[in-house]
């Protein structure tokens, strides 16, 4: 068994399996739910396999087609990719289970192929070490995500989808332009080769700017977040969950990867800018969330704010490198679990009462306790209250900030948590009270409630799993490239 774990080419399975699943779901839509769940389970197992492999052997390299870089494309996996793959599989599995109960027959026929394409794109993105290949995966990701948003079909969803599509395409093109410049400067698309050769020059600066701008747009960092709330709020809830939890993280992952491995020697000096944007995202997103009157919109703005946190690591990485990156990755995965759970919970509210107006939640805490519990637990993690993954992430981030004497950032980190608490408990408060106008209710399938609750519990559980996850992140020392750069700088 152990041998089997170590010999299977898990990375390849991770890419091809969901793709095959998507095709099969498209061809024979009769049993999509079962087919999809089997695929997801397979993907989950593959991540476990890949994890075992990585723990045994360090980083994973695969020269596709037997052609070594720079001619061919390399697949690459280290701890960072592994954690992202893992969180994708986990959230994906729960959302999938949720989706089997959420969608009706026709909708699930449409949902599954698109979602499996999305999964393919995510996995391929986390495993790629080739700049152009990354562009293709980004496009695959963007298109499938937009198509999923559009599934909801209403005015708001279509508008949101379109805005998202335009932003996503613009982002991809910016990225591609940067890739073009890099290719023509160094004659290679391979990350490893590029990282060895890269040095500051006007062209590289432009490439850095374009690639970062493209990815920031896709990650929806303030002030490029305009497309996110309408898209995430108007999509079907399981889809919102996927988007907020995974898709946004994918472009963030890519940005992180590129800055760490490629641009760090030159980009350190502008990292402060990302930090400022992060701060503004936290404040703006939280204030907007406070103003919302609908749960899903609130949760979507909360994503805008939470994304801001991820960018605080960039200015902090100088003095407190590994801590800051660990913090951010921890925040990212906690947010993935929590936000997915939260959107699922929001979906349950919508299904139950037919609306998601916060002021009319009408004693949901009594009538839908599991869902409200899921929402609350997810909220705990988002606020960063102990014991939760969000707490660990914020703790580390705060530690990094204070180690470096960045009081301003430390204050923002704490303030962001308080603001998050304010908007999230607004929802919870109304969940306890009675609405002025009671609405007609529909039963919520048990699966939907439990999927949300379990995922939210996962976000809480993460608070105790740091000793397990942080070593995983360190496989292949993805944050090490940066620390050596740091030595050079100092």
């Amino acid at each position: 068994m152990g041998d089997f774990l170590l010999t299977m080419p898990w990375a390849v399975v991770l890419i091809l399996l969901p793709l095959v699943g998507a095709i099969v779901c498209f061809l024979w839509p009769k049993n999509v739910n079962q087919l999809g769940l089997v695929t997801l389970a397979g993907v989950f197992l593959s991540v476990v396999g890949l994890g075992a492999w990585l723990l045994e052997n360090g980083v994973y390299h695969h020269a596709v087609g037997g052609w070594n870089a720079p001619l061919g494309i390399h697949l690459y996996a280290d701890g960072l990719s592994l954690v992202m793959l893992g969180i994708t599989a986990l959230v994906g599995l729960f959302v999938s289970v949720y989706a089997t109960a959420y969608f009706d027959r026709v909708q699930s026929e449409q949902f599954w192929p698109l979602w499996l394409f999305l999964l393919t794109a995510l996995n391929a993105l986390f495993l790629s070490a080739d700049m152009f290949n990354l562009y293709v995966t980004l496009e695959l990701l963007g298109l499938s995500a937009v198509a999923l948003v559009a599934l909801a079909g209403g005015k708001a969803a279509l508008n949101g989808a379109m805005r998202y599509l335009l932003a996503s395409l613009l982002g991809s093109l910016l990225f591609l332009f940067g890739v073009a410049l890099l290719y023509h400067t160094y004659g290679s698309l391979d990350l490893a080769i590029l990282s060895e050769q890269i040095e500051a020059s006007p062209t590289v600066w432009m490439a850095l700017g374009l690639i970062s701008a493209g990815l920031l747009l896709k990650t929806a960092l303030f002030p490029l977040h305009f497309w996110l709330p309408p898209a995430h709020a108007s999509a079907f809830s399981p889809i919102s969950a996927l988007l907020s939890a995974l898709v946004v993280k994918a472009s963030f992952y890519l940005l992180l990867r590129l800055w760490l491995e490629l641009f760090w020697p030159i980009s350190g000096s502008v990292a402060g800018l990302l930090g400022i944007l992060g701060v503004m995202a936290i404040l703006w997103g939280s204030l907007q969330a406070l103003r919302q009157t609908r749960v899903k919109m609130l949760v979507a703005y909360s994503t805008v704010a939470q994304i801001g946190y991820l960018f605080l690591a960039f200015p902090l990485a100088m003095g407190a490198g590994v801590t800051a990156w660990n913090a951010v990755m921890y925040l990212a995965i906690s947010h993935a679990l929590a936000k997915a759970a939260m959107f699922m919970a929001a979906g349950n509210l919508l299904r139950f009462g037919g609306h998601d107006r916060i002021a009319d939640l009408d004693q949901l805490a009594q009538r839908l306790p599991l869902t409200v519990a899921a929402f609350a637990l997810a909220g705990v993690s988002l606020i960063g209250l102990p014991p939760s993954g969000g707490f660990i992430g914020k703790w580390l981030l705060l530690e990094a900030a204070l180690m470096q004497g960045r009081w301003d950032l430390a204050v923002v980190i704490v303030l962001g948590g308080v603001l998050a608490a304010m908007y999230l408990f607004k929802v919870l408060g109304y969940a306890f009270t009675e609405a002025s106008t009671p609405s007609k209710v529909t039963a919520v399938p048990v699966r939907m409630e439990w999927a949300a609750l379990l995922l939210a519990s996962g976000a809480i559980l993460l608070g105790f799993l740091a000793p397990l996850i942080l070593p995983l992140l360190a496989i292949g020392t993805p944050f090490d490239a940066f620390s050596s750069a740091q030595e050079v700088m100092s």
Binding site: G154, L158, L165, L166, L181, Y183
Partner: protein
């Protein structure tokens, strides 16, 4: 300056024109056109710079551009379909700037 650079500059021009148009226009079809022109600009830079040396054109950028064109067509087709759907539902081929109340 060589012809390669000339085309690269044209590519940049196209790209920037596209970005500007994408930002200021309201009509979706126009935005889609803008994206396409931007794409052409990027492809042009990608390919033009490969021609800096006269010996043998580099096939890799050509391959990338072909892939890029396919992707662009897919995206365009999808965007157009989405635009039509929006127009059918809302009666306008524009994004609603104001939130639904």
């Amino acid at each position: 300056m060589s012809i390669a650079v000339l085309y690269a500059l044209v590519g940049i021009g196209l790209f920037c024109l596209g970005v500007y148009a994408l930002m200021i226009h309201a009509h979706l079809l126009r935005k889609i056109l803008a994206l396409n022109i931007m794409g052409s600009g990027v492809f042009m830079v990608l390919l033009a710079l490969a021609g800096r040396t006269e010996i043998m054109p580099d096939p890799v950028p050509a391959a990338m551009v072909i892939t890029g064109i396919v992707v662009a067509v897919s995206a365009t087709a999808f965007a157009l379909a989405l635009m039509l759907k929006i127009s059918a539902v809302t009666g306008r081929a524009e994004l609603n700037d104001e939130e639904e109340k």
